[in-house]
């Protein structure tokens, strides 16, 4: 549903600049407030560590050297829904994140917003 994202804070963790930028512009176009984007896990953790809790998140699975799963678990622990974005096979994502929606790069902006809206709707 449109406008589900309006005013929502969406954390974006994506090490790829252009894609991260695209995500920002897309989400802002959807009315969301983007937290980040962070290019590394460390940056991402820092972003949510300062007491800020986004409403939603988009996490790129493979960051520069590490996977994003630590952050994902932190979000899960906080109950913040998120989606994964990955360039690799979805099967490589551990089972504990089976319920997490996964978007395969490259994906349409529309797909992302839809997924986020779905999450927001549940929420």
């Amino acid at each position: 549903m449109p406008d589900l994202l309006r005013g929502r804070t969406v954390l974006v963790v994506e090490d790829e600049y252009y894609l991260a930028d695209d995500l920002r512009r897309g989400l802002e176009a959807a009315g969301a407030v983007v937290l980040g984007p962070a290019a590394s896990l460390a940056d991402g953790l820092r972003l949510i560590g300062d007491g800020r809790s986004p409403d939603l998140a988009v996490l790129d699975v493979n960051l520069r050297d590490v996977t994003v799963y630590e952050l994902a678990e932190a979000l899960m622990a906080r109950g913040i829904p998120f989606v994964f974005a990955t360039g690799y096979d979805a099967a490589r994502i551990p089972e504990r994140f089976e319920a997490v929606p996964k978007l395969l790069k490259p994906f349409e902006m529309g797909a992302l917003t839809a997924a986020l809206e779905a999450l927001a709707a549940r929420g």
Binding site: Y18, L19, S40, R64
Partner: protein
């Protein structure tokens, strides 16, 4: 020719003598006259000188020498000199001839010439030579008396009686033969009385039988006459015996007329001759016609009979006398004593002084060595060499007695002795018989000597006999001997044993008793001479004091026993007679000594025997057997009995009693036996029952003492018990013999039915039953099958029967194993009528049923039937029981054997067919006894060759040396009872190939558990082994690690590769030990896999195995090995080294992921780039141109990134170089300085490449690359910043000498690039960048951290 010389002997002889002398006799059978023998000469001179007419017929041809008187006889023979007698004797010849034989036989014969009508009677007498053989005949002629009467006068009937009698007498007188007498008498009688026949019967001694000894028949035809008076006419016999004359006028009037008719007699007279009360003969006459016999006739007959008989007797006497005379004559000639006829010569006073020899016999001739001729007429004093004067006187003395007498003294002559007997002949004539008694005298002397010796020896014997002590005997003997020979000392020395030591010496009585052997060694002296004859006579030793000594050894069986010595106090030697005497005496004395010693010993022995006698356990007694008059033994008397006798016989105090009194019922056998032993002296051993004593004895009986005493010693044992046992044993032995026979009969038979039949036959025949049947019970013991049986005289019982049908009591008994013996079915109370009927129908009078029980149940029955009643003895029952048992056993055996044979056959076929070799060895010798054909295939050797010689050794030789010890050890342990399987190699003889064999061997023991054989199966493993070997090689060769496990993962085997890889030993790896080799984190994985293995039937799992400090990845696959039923036997697994593979795979995965990522990323980048380009482009062409350029830059970097070998890295210098080169028509100077090989990751490379592209594009458009005088210098370097792991790449892009375009245009142009450099790079990579538009060009710096050396996400490099 006149023979000169020696015919002086034929001095006289008259004319004939002269003629004899004148004749040449050399060519006749008599030979030359000078060689005529003495007997011829004597006889001839006798005949020739004789006054009576005589003729000598000499020699085999009977050469006749008639003397003068004979030659001158009127009616004589004429000149017959030299002719063979009786040739030329005319009418007398025949009669003479017929008598010659008799004369030559030695019997003088008379020939009555008168009866032949001759003028002379002849008397022929034999002449003998010195040997006594008749060599000639002297015929003495005497005128026939009453010549006129000598003529044969036919009898005239009616001649006067006296005349007749006289004639008869005359006729008979000269006859010498009895037969002749009677013949003549009968003839004359018959003629005189004119009867048909006259006979004379001589009556036998029994006065009954008679024989016709003479008869005269006118008509001689006559039938055979009876020979017994009693037969002929018994009453006549009586009368005859009484001496009565009997006559018969007409036999027809007699009762025996038929008999007379038979012999042709009509009338007869018989006169008996009875002398001394005995009927000697009957003289009779008989006539054909009836005749009245006159008294005169009868008297005449009686007279004739008397005279005839007298003549017969006289003739017989004379014949006897003639014979005797003949004998005496020849005796004269042949007597060995000298005989001479002599005449006494007296002197004037009539005193006898000499005698003349008148005649001598040949013996006398020999005696004197002179011929009779030389001696005749000579005086004894002249011819007798030793004539002694007393002879005539002595002879005269005897003559005076008129009776023969012996000369009182022996007459020595010619060194011999004679005994002379004088026979007076009347007057001064006498005959002397001289007996050479020289030998006799000597013998007499010896006899006398012997007599003296005998007397002495007798005295010695008598003296010694009563002595019992050997010493006393010796002493006495020596004393007596000394007395006899006049010795002063007689001693004896006994040789004791081998060395001859002096024994006892016994001095004789008398002076000189001292001195003994005079220091001589008696044995030495005796020995020396003993060597000659054994009865050595020592030379008489003269001692210094004139004593003679002799030693007489006694040698028995070549051993010197004792020496007797004698010493006499006179120097003369010992005569042989004396020495011989001593010898004999010594012999007897010593014999007596030895006898005494033996007696002593015997007494001692007897003592021992007596003790034995008293104490032996056997009965012993001495009996005297008593015989009756006929010599049959009837009883015996006990003389002695030992104590055991009483206990063994039960006869008390038997000594002195008779057996018949003690035991009246004793069998005659005993008496007969003992009598025989007593008679024959042969000992007998026997066993016999003594009924009267109720016992059996084993007896040894032998005769004691001399036969006459009839003593028998009996040694005996009471064997009653033994006999009983023996009877039982014999019965048992008989049974054993029967069973043996049964066994032998059955053994060769293989067919069970035949066994039954034969066994029953043997049993049936042995016991003589009607039927013998074998019944076999079925396993449930309900039915009995009878197939084999024996029947004699009754139909056999064959078929199947129900046991219960036999009757309840029978069935019960049999099932309980009890034998039923019924001797008489009719006597059995429990048999009902029906049963009896059944028995009768089958012809059974008695039966015996023996059940055979095996393991408590009835297996069979042997039934015997007897048609008649029969008492089955215990022995018979036992026999049948044993037979039943054995028959059953034999049947079983036959069946078992049949089965065994079958099984053997199967086995044999199996053995033959099996491809494995089956063999059997003897456990002891280890030699093969049985090999199946497969052997030849496997060993490549024929069985014959294999079995030859020591085949164990040859087998060992086939085995390769390395395996021999193992094979031998294995065989040895099998011998000890182990079952062993062992492998070994042989070199096959046929092709020298090595073959692997596996032997599965086992011991074969006998019933006692002793290993007697070793059996085995040999399997050729070679193929399998080779396969295994290949497999092994394979396994060992292949890289995989192979293992086998059972259960849930316990390993049973691991391949060498495992050991080699893991370094584990076999022991360490087995079981669960293999887990240790695993990289610890993976052990759980492995365990898990095993845990589920059973469900899955196999698994595949990857785990790491340790290797040194590290590990490698292995993929392990396990599969279950199943048997036929699907059960898992074991697990077979392989572990393959997948480490490289895994790495590869990992790399590949990463690569793929990268690729994926990159591709996705690339698309995102391209889209993003497109968007931005679109934003910065004025129109589509512009867009296209820009977009295309950017896309190409992207493609270039992708090209670099996707080069093989550099999967996601590219060096900066390459990146830069490529980008710069890609600028078309780049003018100006380009300086690129910096290290090569600084690697960049793909994403970084990509972005950096894009950044470079932007810079380069800008430089192309309006920057350094577009202006020739401008310079582009790109300098870069790697830098390690302090405190950081990663190095930094510092890049400086300095364009210089560039106429700058207006600033707004530059900004617009560089927007994309500036974003990339100023924002994206720092964002994505943490780079620090600067971008500045300098007066003469762009100046950009990028410092970007690069990764250490490009790692992948996991794993350490190998």
């Amino acid at each position: 020719m006149r023979d000169e010389g020696h015919e002086g002997w034929l001095g006289g002889g008259g004319d004939t003598g002269a003629r004899v002398r004148a004749r040449d006799w050399a060519s006749t059978s008599l030979g030359p006259i000078t060689c005529w023998p003495a007997s011829l000469r004597t006889a001839l001179t006798l005949v020739l000188d004789h006054p009576l007419p005589m003729a000598l017929a000499w020699g085999p041809e009977l050469v006749t020498f008639p003397n003068d008187a004979c030659a001158a006889l009127p009616g004589g023979p004429g000149d017959v000199l030299g002719r063979p007698f009786p040739e030329g004797w005319g009418a007398a010849r025949r009669g003479l001839a017929s008598r010659i034989a008799g004369a030559l036989d030695g019997a003088a014969a008379r020939f009555d010439g008168a009866s032949a009508g001759l003028a002379f009677d002849h008397c022929l007498s034999p002449v003998r030579d010195a040997t006594g053989a008749v060599v000639g005949i002297i015929d003495t002629l005497t005128p026939a008396l009453a010549p006129e009467r000598a003529r044969f006068v036919p009898p005239g009937a009616g001649e006067e009686r006296e005349t007749f009698l006289l004639r008869l007498s005359d006729a008979l007188r000269p006859l010498t033969e009895a037969v002749e007498v009677l013949d003549v008498a009968m003839r004359l009688l018959a003629g005189q009385l004119d009867v048909m026949g006259a006979t004379c019967l001589e009556i036998d001694a029994d006065e009954d039988g008679f024989a016709l000894i003479a008869s005269h028949e006118r008509s001689p035809a006559r039938a055979s006459a009876p020979t017994r008076l009693s037969a002929f006419a018994p009453d006549m016999a009586e009368a005859y015996r009484a001496g009565s004359t009997l006559s018969c006028r007409d036999t027809e009037l007699e009762p025996e007329r038929d008999a007379y008719r038979a012999v042709g007699i009509r009338a007869w007279v018989g006169v008996p001759l009875v002398k001394q009360g005995r009927l000697l003969a009957i003289v009779g006459v008989h006539s054909r016609e009836p005749r009245d016999w006159t008294r005169e006739e009868v008297r005449l007959l009686e007279d004739v009979a008397e005279r005839a008989w007298a003549a017969v007797e006289r003739a017989r006497a004379e014949a006897a006398l003639a014979a005797s005379e003949g004998r005496y004559r020849s005796f004269f000639e042949t007597m060995r004593q000298g005989y001479d006829e002599c005449e006494m010569i007296r002197d004037a006073t009539g005193r006898p002084v000499d005698y003349r020899v008148l005649d001598v016999n040949p013996a006398f001739e020999r005696l004197l060595g002179m011929t009779a001729g030389e001696l005749r007429g000579r005086r004894a004093s002249e011819v007798m060499p030793d004539f002694e004067e007393w002879w005539p006187a002595e002879i005269d003395r005897i003559l005076a007695t008129g009776a023969p007498g012996r000369v009182g003294r022996e007459v020595p002559a010619f060194d011999r002795f004679y005994e002379v007997t004088i026979y007076p002949r009347g007057g001064d004539r006498f005959a002397a018989v001289c007996d050479d008694i020289t030998e006799r005298r000597r013998v007499e002397l010896v006899r006398r000597e012997n007599e003296a010796r005998q007397v002495f020896l007798l005295r010695l014997s008598d003296a010694l006999r009563p002595l019992g002590d050997p010493g006393e005997i010796q002493e006495t003997a020596c004393r007596i001997m000394a007395e006899q020979v006049g010795a002063e000392w007689v001693g004896c020395a006994e040789a004791c044993g081998g060395d001859q030591t002096i024994g006892r010496q016994f001095p004789a009585a008398g002076p000189g008793a001292t001195g003994g052997w005079f220091g001589r060694d008696p044995f030495r002296s005796a020995d020396r001479d003993a060597g000659d004859t054994g009865s050595g006579i020592a030379p008489a030793h003269s001692t210094s004091d004139g004593r003679s000594f002799v030693a007489v050894p006694l040698v028995k069986a070549e051993d010197l026993v004792v020496v007797f010595g004698a010493r006499r106090a006179r120097p003369s030697g010992w005569t042989p007679a004396e020495v011989s005497l001593i010898e004999e005496a010594a012999d007897r004395a010593w014999a007596a000594v030895e006898r005494a010693r033996a007696e002593v010993a015997r007494r001692a022995s007897e003592e021992r025997y007596r003790t034995l006698f008293e104490s032996i356990d056997q009965g012993f007694c001495v009996i005297e057997v008593l015989f009756d008059e006929a010599g049959a033994p009837v009883d015996y008397l006990f003389l002695e009995a030992n104590p055991a006798f009483e206990s063994k016989t039960g006869l008390v105090e038997a000594e002195g009693k008779r057996m018949r009194a003690l035991a009246p019922g004793h069998e005659q056998f005993w008496f007969d036996t003992y009598g025989r032993v007593a008679r024959t002296g042969h000992p007998e051993r026997f066993q016999h029952r003594a009924e009267a004593l109720g016992r059996w004895y084993d007896v040894y009986a032998l005769r004691l003492g001399p036969a006459e005493e009839n003593r028998v010693a009996i040694l005996f044992d009471d064997i009653t018990e033994r006999r009983r046992a023996e009877t039982a044993l014999r019965e048992s032995e008989e049974r054993q013999a029967f069973l043996l026979k049964l066994s032998d009969t059955l053994r060769p038979i293989a067919d069970p039915v035949e066994i039954q039949a034969r066994a029953m036959r043997v049993l049936g025949e042995h016991l003589g039953v009607t039927r013998a049947q074998y019944y076999e019970a079925d396993p449930s013991a309900t039915y009995l099958d009878s197939q084999g049986g024996y029947a004699d005289g009754a139909p056999p019982v064959v078929g199947r029967f129900r046991i219960d049908d036999f009757g309840q009591h029978v069935t019960e008994a049999y099932r309980a194993g009890r034998t039923l013996a019924v001797g008489d079915v009719t006597a059995e109370a429990r048999f009902g009528a029906e049963e009896l009927g059944a028995y009768a129908a089958l012809g059974i009078g008695a039966y015996l049923g023996v059940p055979v029980m095996k393991a408590g149940r009835l297996a069979g029955i042997v039934g015997l039937h007897q048609a008649a009643k029969r008492d089955w003895t215990p022995a018979e029952v036992a026999l049948v029981e044993e037979t039943a048992d054995r028959t059953w056993a034999a049947v079983e055996r036959a069946r078992t054997e049949a089965a065994l044979r079958e099984s053997e056959e199967r086995f044999r076929q199996f053995g033959e067919a099996s491809r494995d070799v089956l063999w059997i060895r003897d456990a002891e010798t280890l030699q093969w006894q049985y090999l199946t054909p497969a052997f030849e295939e496997i060993y490549g050797l024929s069985r014959e060759e294999a079995l030859a010689n020591d085949n164990y050794r040859s087998w060992m030789d086939l085995i390769v040396p390395e395996d021999r010890a193992r094979a031998a050890d294995s065989v040895r342990s099998i011998r000890r009872g182990a079952h062993v399987t062992f492998d070994y190699r042989i070199r096959r003889p046929s092709d020298r190939a090595i073959r692997w064999l596996r032997n599965t061997d086992f011991p074969i023991a006998d019933a006692s558990g002793q290993v007697i054989m070793v059996g085995g199966i040999g399997h050729d493993l070679t193929e399998l082994r080779e396969t295994e070997l290949r497999l092994q090689t394979l396994i060992e060769g292949m890289p995989q690690l192979v293992w086998r496990a059972v259960g849930g993962g316990t390993w049973t085997w691991a391949s060498p590769q495992w050991f080699e890889y893991t370094g584990q030993s076999a022991a360490e790896s087995l079981g669960w030990g293999w887990l240790e080799a695993l990289y610890p984190p993976d052990r759980e994985t492995a365990r898990e896999a095993w845990a589920h293995a059973l469900e899955t039937g196999g698994f595949e799992v990857e785990y790491r195995l340790r290797r040194g400090e590290g590990f490698r990845w292995f993929k392990t696959r396990a599969t279950a090995v199943r048997d036929g039923t699907g059960a898992i036997i074991e697990w077979l697994g392989t572990s393959t080294d997948i480490h490289e593979l895994r790495e590869l795979q990992e790399r590949q995965r990463i690569l793929v992921a990268e690729l994926q990522h990159r591709t996705r990323n690339l698309m995102a980048v391209v889209r993003s780039m497109a968007d931005r380009t679109g934003d910065g482009s004025q129109d589509l062409d512009d867009f296209l141109q820009r977009f295309r350029a950017r896309l190409e830059a992207l493609a270039r970097v992708q090209g670099l990134l996707s080069r093989l070998g550099e999967t996601d890295r590219v060096a900066f210098d390459e990146l830069l170089g490529t980008e710069i080169e890609a600028m078309p028509g780049a003018g100006g100077q380009v300086i690129l300085e910096g290290p090569r090989g600084i690697r960049l990751r793909s994403s970084m490379a990509q972005m950096l490449a894009m950044a470079l592209h932007e810079l380069a594009t800008n430089a192309m458009k309006y920057g350094a690359l577009s202006q020739p005088r401008a310079v582009l210098a790109v300098r870069w370097s790697a830098r390690r910043s302090d405190g950081e792991n990663r190095p930094w790449l510092d890049i400086e892009w300095r364009e210089s000498g560039v106429r700058m375009p207006p600033a707004d245009r530059v900004l617009a142009e560089t927007g994309q690039g500036r974003e990339l450099i100023e924002r994206a790079l720092p964002y994505q990579f943490g780079a620090k960048t600067t971008f500045a538009l300098e007066e003469d060009g762009v100046h950009c710096t990028i410092s970007i951290p690069v990764s250490a050396s490009g790692e992948s996400a996991a794993g350490s490099a190998a």
